[in-house]
Symmetry: C2
Subunit: 402 residues, 2 copies
Amino acid sequence: MSLQQIFATRTHRMKASEIRELLKLLDRPGLLSFAGGIPDPDLFPAAEFSQAFQTCLTPAHQAKALQYSASEGYPPLRQWIKAEMVRIGVPCEVDNILITSGSQQALDYLGKLLLSPGDTALVGWPTYLGALAAFNAYEPRYDQLNPTGNRSPASYRQAAQEEGSAVKFAYLSPDFANPTGETLSKAGREALLDMSEELGCAVIEDGAYQALRYEGESIPPVLALEIKRRGGIEDCRTIYCGSFSKTLSPGLRVGWVVAAKPVISQLVLMKQAADLHSPTINQMAVHQVAEAGFEAHVAGLKRAYGARRDAMLAALQEFMPEGISWTRPEGGMFVWLTLPKHIDGGQLLKRALEEESIAFVPGQAFFADGAGCNTLRLSFSVLPQDQIRSGMQRLGRLLHSA
Amino acid sequence: MSLQQIFATRTHRMKASEIRELLKLLDRPGLLSFAGGIPDPDLFPAAEFSQAFQTCLTPAHQAKALQYSASEGYPPLRQWIKAEMVRIGVPCEVDNILITSGSQQALDYLGKLLLSPGDTALVGWPTYLGALAAFNAYEPRYDQLNPTGNRSPASYRQAAQEEGSAVKFAYLSPDFANPTGETLSKAGREALLDMSEELGCAVIEDGAYQALRYEGESIPPVLALEIKRRGGIEDCRTIYCGSFSKTLSPGLRVGWVVAAKPVISQLVLMKQAADLHSPTINQMAVHQVAEAGFEAHVAGLKRAYGARRDAMLAALQEFMPEGISWTRPEGGMFVWLTLPKHIDGGQLLKRALEEESIAFVPGQAFFADGAGCNTLRLSFSVLPQDQIRSGMQRLGRLLHSA
């Protein structure tokens, strides 16, 4: 059998994810995992979803809920999202919105939309590894995005041209980014827009964690700032990706894209060709649950996750030895640790699993250039405060001897 | 705004589907539509799904149902599919199965897996237009697949080489194909396998309609015949795509791929990068409904759709003027009409909508080479027998004057 010999060239860049291999080890009893960036299932609005799915499957709705539907998405859900986008500062119309199967699918489609092989994508070092995985399928060249640094747009263009390439987009998660937990300042967002304007490239704004702010003032989405500059979404280069995965349920796979209509039209064709549409009943159920009480539900999540973030930051302060630094996220699910240069995150994980029965994600996987050996990502979203404290105590013990 | 200027080259080949534009016109009262290839919503097992979703959202299951899950798919569903594949003659293991969001997604992933720009895909002229749409994103060259014709494998290779290309796969739906309704004989399937062996290419077997046979004897899937030749699935080049869309519900978007493990492993990575996994709760619900009575449910569908096929074939016999021929499908949802050369299907559709208030799909969209102007596709799956008869009467009237 030789089908592997005829695989497309893109498969050379699609490798198994470190996180995924890791997650296979996490079933052992007593292990405290800070690895997965997953929501706490005890916080799912399960009763509300039970009610919603039941409603979808009553005689009045069942034919629609189980049937094929439009590639753009379920109109009432697009309407709800439009209102939510307006609420966070992004005036738009329903036709500026496409429903996707999670924001992961939006990243895949945006890579497909914008990248021919060799095109340049600007990404943070580190960045969300799922974004790298999605883009890798379209064989890009990467360069380091650093909106608050001092690289000029011309230098990005020149570096790309030297490789026979053009800069197609900058990808970032401006709020409480996966993996660092950091938030880009308003000035940084404006600098990013200046750069995208000069390069003529798109900005892919990943808002997966946007709703989960536990302290500090909201900063307008990059798309909101660009709409202010240009007077309307139709003249904008920013493409916003949202998701219900961190707020309502990841297992239902419902996310969305907001962009100028010509971008949405092309993405609709792409979705139609790729999976026809996201599941109808899931969109109807998410709409019902969101309509009935999204804000109140998210307020509850913020209280719970905010307390866990506080517990992790306090425990890091208490237990980390000298020479280790970490981020102080204002929201989201992650804290990012930088270790002394001689400590390798992958090696440390092996010892962590064996000696202390804790897990985290070594940071290297989040770097497009393979750097970041001495970094690691901790998630505080799943465990209760006392276990977070216990886990950080174990991690501190391990690092004292590393 | 100039994002369209930086779209990837693949977007040049992704255009709006004729069927899709058409379906926007189908809401008018009194119109009899033979256009969409959709199942009859009155035949959905809605009560069973209502029960299944409720079970998924009881406290014992809700955390799992709403959470992230494995890219490969929900294990009990993969187990059920394995048993079903064995039943239809395809011995395999659970690790030979990937759950996809409908078989449309399988086609997208297989294009992504196998096609670099310029690679050759062999497809029927006509073929499923959703397959062309999925593959177009990977910028292939097409050549005409005709397993029972007399083109030698060498001629395919040579034609590809002349374009600097290699043949990567042959795509077909061997049972009751969309759009023709035709079934490939066992000899034709064997000839296809001979050809794929000589060309070293894959075979993509689209089994979307496989379960819906109304008369005649089942023919083993191409994959079953190849397993017999080679002794096991791991040595096979055939990749089978299945779907619950035509049997249980299309709106839930649950399909699957069966192939050798190295193919599945690569597809799992691809799915993980593209949308993480198909919705968890949908897979659990489909598993429950399939487990409880797939065969009995499909038996009911066959009775209903079989009677509608009979009604359409009888009415065509009764009302079609001279010079028109059509297929006599043993299953599926479609009859394919060939009109006299001077009649254009697209022009006829306009008149059909205006003068007779009926709809169908002009055949040209199903041809990779743009041929087939004088063909059209009729679906018999949605309307009751009396309306099918009335629709064919109207079509006959129209054709008498065309």
